[in-house]
Symmetry: C2
Subunit: 425 residues, 2 copies
Amino acid sequence: MRTLALAVPEHLDKEVEVSGWVHRIRELGQVNFVLLRDRSGMVQLVFNEKIDFTPESVLTVKGVAKANAKAPGGAEIHPTEVKVLARADLNLPVQVNQDPDKYPLEVLFDYRHLSLRMPKLRAIFQLQSSLLKYLSDFMRADGFFEIKSTKLVGTGAEGGTGLFSVDYFENKVYLAQSPQLYKQTMVSSGLERVFEISHAYRAEKHDTPRHINEYVSFDVEMAFIESDQDLMAFEARLLDYVFTQVGLHNAAELEAWGASVPPPGAMLKAPIVGYDEAKDIIAKETGKKVFDINPEGERALSDWALKEHGVDLVYLNDWPRKKRAWYSYPSLDGTRTLSFDLIFRGLEITSGSRRINEYAMLQDALPKFGITEESLGFYPQIFRYGCPPHGGFAIGVERLTQKILGLDNVKEASLFPRDRKRITP
Amino acid sequence: MRTLALAVPEHLDKEVEVSGWVHRIRELGQVNFVLLRDRSGMVQLVFNEKIDFTPESVLTVKGVAKANAKAPGGAEIHPTEVKVLARADLNLPVQVNQDPDKYPLEVLFDYRHLSLRMPKLRAIFQLQSSLLKYLSDFMRADGFFEIKSTKLVGTGAEGGTGLFSVDYFENKVYLAQSPQLYKQTMVSSGLERVFEISHAYRAEKHDTPRHINEYVSFDVEMAFIESDQDLMAFEARLLDYVFTQVGLHNAAELEAWGASVPPPGAMLKAPIVGYDEAKDIIAKETGKKVFDINPEGERALSDWALKEHGVDLVYLNDWPRKKRAWYSYPSLDGTRTLSFDLIFRGLEITSGSRRINEYAMLQDALPKFGITEESLGFYPQIFRYGCPPHGGFAIGVERLTQKILGLDNVKEASLFPRDRKRITP
């Protein structure tokens, strides 16, 4: 019966069996120390004989747990039986027991099977796993259904640019940029409140610390809302829950990165700033003329929110129509949209809006964006048979992970990142 | 403040507000009845005036809830205010208030935005949403991490056939057939126990009620197992939990299809039958010579399990090596594998195995299957640096949904199915 490394101190003076990887070997001659690593943490093994296995080999060890204040966790094992389950080559291309900062990102990605063994890097994906849970739990408790929509589509939600094409038997289809059209279809189909966590694809050529070409999108769509205000209020409750849960249950992962989450309630204090007002704030903060809200502007706005409202979170709404997707619901005068972004620690992590839900309004909107009804396939039909007012938003899961832990590059929050050049491992 | 249809009987003689779709209009002259449908169910509205909206239009209605034993749920609303939020065209290509059996499957798929409004079809995806929750909940409670691995791969786990190709900038990549190589990588990388729920793709040309080209795969991989016995025991506990939860919380969806789940404990009684023994049983049951275990054989085996063990579940293991994937761990004599299938109500819903975890064994195995080490990219490297014994399995989410509800065709369990010819909606 296996005991996890973290639980060894609970079994003092008893026989335990542990399994894991050899993290570090320290040979002092008479007495030799081995640090064994498993998914829970580390435990020290104390040998009197010579060590005949290599670092990163996999062992199952039986022995007696003994108290030792100097050992990690306050306990160590004096082995009586050692089984080498898998022997590691001596030449490790990445030293697992070193700090990941010693290696360029590209090396960490090239040797993902080794670099992910580094406890600090593993912590990223332990946190991400928790985020998927917290996000889903909140949605379900609020009456949302989880959907899985197709990723093989005839057209892009954003109008045909930035799509990867797929040879599909005799046809050409595209990888979905987002489940936008499908989640709206599900609202119209009577599920009313849906969420989806799936991969999304953007064939964008830029290579920045903010972009990856394949990412995990957490998508929300809900019926019977009136405006973007309803959506922002909902997302505030959602992220308040997520941040609170992370604070309660992911202390180890936060500590590995010296990170912290916004405290409970912070999300509910995020200011909502209109587009024009935001430009004024950015101009004042940066001392520069502002034509457009670019990444630098988002950071300035975030700094302002922290200074003025004590939270590193700010909603940006009232966007001009031509800066937003064609499906965004226009303001009464037609120049603005009921749409918003959420900026968290200087990075946009959410984009959302009420959507056009009337067929006539859609027909009016499409030509303004140079889009034909035909190019959207089945989609315009969903508005002809009773589509309630609705809206939604999406959160990039890697970006959320990145900003919680303070990672420099969003690719670090992807297990196997895909960018312009990287298609392996 | 909106009240859901199902909750109206809790508000007798009080004013309520409901929102939903006009499911049915019954005009009797003096008094007219409207059945309003929302995600929770239906509520009857009673009007004295003429009805001026069409079926499937979306309404928000205020009125007083009154007891009426003859109304669905025992209550009805006498409206004081009706707002038509979205008007539906009169000519519905699919009548939502009819039985879906009246329409060919292809019509139901063509008009998915309407057919999914049929309560019976919606029930499929309400159940599926619950399945995703139960599966995840069990895994997390057992210490598994949820991962999201890339779907853009350089090679296929099954050796290069049946892959859809993607134009990825200057490169050609493929849509992953399964997360097989990546979930193994994560085990080797120290997460030890992982699961993933993501899309998977098979470019197979056959069009059967058992196949779709894009499906949702629930994948499990775990370290420190010894054989397929550990995996079968684990899956039995998992599915016992899932079936029990469905029985407790999804009575409405089961009822819509006249379906039931195996009772608590049934999964733990599923017999384990070796490949040769299974052939004998099938021969005896069908009275035919058996060369191979085909779909007909799986059904016969399932019938036998029901007859002999009282459960419509049977594990089939001890598969000959050449019938299984190259990564399956061979038996001691090299002719068999530590692999298994799970057959549920006559259909294979799971395939699993212990995997080869030693580099030398992999090098020995690949030529037997005509696969070169180079064609597998990074994958062989994960075995060089300490990869523990491990194994896993996958459950097709659509197949599980199908067999629980008794759907004829697996495509019915996919929101937007993709087959050889269908790429819309």
